[in-house]
């Protein structure tokens, strides 16, 4: 029982999916390791941001640039997308037909795209208030961190589209299954990073 239980942290497909064989599930473990490495990158950028908070050089600071209402909406969108991806993962594990899976994935994708659009709108507003990276070290630090998260979301969306394409071409085979499990890890990871951004970059910047 416990022996078959965990091949890697997180959602395991379990014995019902015998085709997602051992060697492919090794990839999920590997992806967790990659996430640790990626987290180091974000961690360093967070630390740099905190150090650079004071480096406004007379330019606009957090109080002039940040709009919490918009950021709050982005947060809700992203958290909801994490929930819908969770529903997709459950559909992957427990449902025979692919339809609910595909629907949840498309909902997730739309939420991801909406998040990116909202974030771009935010950056645009910041630019309008003179919050461009060439203005100060503080704004540079902001734009080295937050858009990197956005780029990750964009990459995850592209990956999601590619996986939907793979489902269309190959059906729900072990390659797609392990791909979805890995994408799920990335998606939830980006959620956690966003929560850190919300608390540290936005709330922390405003205190």
């Amino acid at each position: 029982m416990t022996r078959t239980a965990m091949r890697h942290p997180g959602l395991n497909l379990g014995p019902a999916h015998a085709d997602a064989e051992d060697t492919r599930e090794e990839m999920i473990f590997g992806f967790w390791v990659f996430m640790m490495s990626d987290f180091v990158i974000f961690g360093l950028l967070f630390a740099t941001y905190v150090v650079m908070l004071g480096g406004t050089a007379g330019g606009p600071g957090p109080h002039e640039l940040f709009e919490m209402k918009s950021v709050f909406i982005e947060t809700l969108i992203l958290l909801t997308s994490s929930f819908t991806f969770g529903m997709a993962s459950l559909a992957l594990k427990y449902r025979e037909d692919t339809k609910p899976l595909v629907i949840w994935l498309i909902v997730t994708l739309l939420l991801g795209v909406a998040f990116i659009a909202y974030e771009l709108k935010d950056f645009h507003t910041m630019f309008g208030k003179g919050g461009v990276p060439s203005r100060s070290g503080f704004i540079s630090a902001f734009f080295s961190l937050v858009p990197l998260h956005g780029l990750h979301v964009l990459a995850a969306c592209i990956w999601l589209i590619a996986l939907l394409g793979q489902i269309a071409v190959h059906g729900l085979d072990s390659f797609v299954k392990t791909g979805l499990l890995r994408l799920a890890i990335l998606w939830h990871f980006l959620d956690i990073v966003w929560i850190c951004i919300f608390s540290l970059v936005y709330l922390g910047g405003l205190t």
């Binding site: 390791v33 740099t48 650079m52 540079s140 080295s144 592209i158």
Partner: protein
Amino acid sequence: MSGDLPDFIFGKLDWDTLPFWDALKDPTTFKIINAVISGGAGALVVLGALGVVILVTWLGKWKYLWSEWLTSPDHKKIGIMFIVIAIVMLARAVIEAVFMRAQQAVGLDGGFLSPEHFGEFFTTHGTIMIFFMAMPFLTGIINYVMPLQIGARDLSFPVMNQISLGLTAAGAAIVMISLVFTPFSTGGWSGYPPYTERAYNPGPGVDYWIWAVTLSTLSSTLTGINFAVTIYKKRAPGMKLFRMPLFTWTALTTAILMIFGMPPLTVATALLALDRYLDFHMFTSDLGGNMMNYVNLFWAFGHPEVYILILPPFGIFSEIFSTFSGKRIFGYPVLVVATICISILSFIVWLHHFFTMGQDAAVNAAFGIATMLIGIPTGVKVYDWMLTMYRGRVRLSVPMIYAIGFIMLFVLGGLTGIILATPSVDYQVHNSLFLIAHFHNMLIPGLLFGMLSATNFWFPKALGFRLEERWGRRAAYSWIVGFMLAFFPLYVLGVLGMPRRSLTFFEPAYLPWTLIAGFGALVILFAMLCLLIQLWVSIRDRHQNMMTAGDPWDGRSLEWSTSSPPPEYNFPVIPEVHSRDAYMSEKEQGKAHQVPDEFPDIVMPANSAMGVIIAVTGSAMAFGLTWYIWWLVILAGVVTLVAVIARGFVRKTTRVISSDEVRRTHLAWLECVRKTTPVDRSKEQSPENQGLPVPPVNGAVQ
């Protein structure tokens, strides 16, 4: 309008970037000398590349090269390709070192190199030695040996392994191309801003450096993930963690250091690129930039990097001391714990690289003590190695000569490290040649001797014949002597106050020491020549040094239990492990070379062009970014994206090797082993040694 199109196509490239152009326009003797040196180097790159293309075409080997090497997912071939890159880059960087030593030997009130040229020399020398010699060398050796040692058929992610190789190759190519389209950075291998910022350094040099290093760090991060997952997930049944050979242990800790230690440099170079390309102010000297962030990020990478470089040689020397003393390694668990301690300590000492940059005394003291602590596990290792040799039957083969040279010189370097770890002393000698002497004292006897020792040790495994001993000895002794002559004088010069990276000096007392160091550099050049001759003689005489039976040194771990070279799948049947020194205990119990009951079909990864594609797009993108050729950047980016997505649609990622083929190959090899005469250790270096040792008696190697 007429000027726009060439600008669009060629970016900032123009005739001035060719290394001899300046001297043509304004020929003075000084400029001509420098132009001959740099133009010669550029010509060598072009001719070398052309020569390889012509040679391969002449031999008609393009198809062989493509299907057997470039697209092969086999960890052994990828390992060898990593090592080839490392050796080519080693040759270039050694020649650069000789030029720098020559400059300083005649550097009293002048010399022959221009400051820009000298700056490029020390920058490329450092960058290449760390990122394109040391990293690919150790990556190649781990790639080759580790899966064999743990009884696996390949790494966990063979295609990612190809991509790692492709990224490293792209970075190395960029550094080589910088000899043709000059200049490279003059900011040193650490590239500190604000000197490397656009305000002070608007040219392409720093951009070359940024992208070459970034490619290398991405490669090493992926490699680290690959190695760690392989060691966690693919060990043969019974190969518990505390039964792994010590080299595999150091491979594991190195992999973990790569996973956590490489990202800081990726961040540092990426932020520097943002500063330079998009006018950010992360590290600039105005508008709230803070260059101390760069220094911290760089050394948060830089210190783990030091142990990424030194831990694999520790593992290699552990194998070599035990094999060539004919004894079990002394204190295996202690060595493992010491390895782990070193890798943890490596993350908490980075500040000792900049004691003088403004922290208060208490912080410096804390980091100084942490630094000195590293001497404890390292000292434990040295004692364990000595006690392994104690009362063993030590054979002075080439790997062992390097190992003994290492142990003596490395202890000396360690002691000067303890001196430097004292902040108050560091204030006196920091940024002087004392520091240069110290880290070369660690890296040449440590890393480089380790790599050369490993090459001599595992070469017969990889190629099926031994390396020639006589020239191997000459190379080893020349390295040891050349190292001492070239670097011990630098300790003296450092204490006399000579700063590092000095183009010229006005203190006559330095002169005798720079001359000795210059002579030492020539001895090292001779050592490089010996290595080349050794390789040449070995290939020429390969038939009398054949080693098909696979075990020339009476080895102890699983890699010696297969044929030389091993089949693509390494082991016809995955071995079962019951103890440490798994193969030695098989030999003791007379269980080596048995015919398995049945042969399975073996599933191996299929060939893939991903590595080649990444190598091409990676170097194209880096080149385009350096010279502001935006269409090339976009094209390379799109091709990479399409290739990665398309790869996701591929379903035929494996191929099956039939049990018949496996049986035929294995039985043929066993037949060959049966015909081989076993030899005892006194004949190890003679042609009679065909890779089959006399079995041990009562646990004693014969």
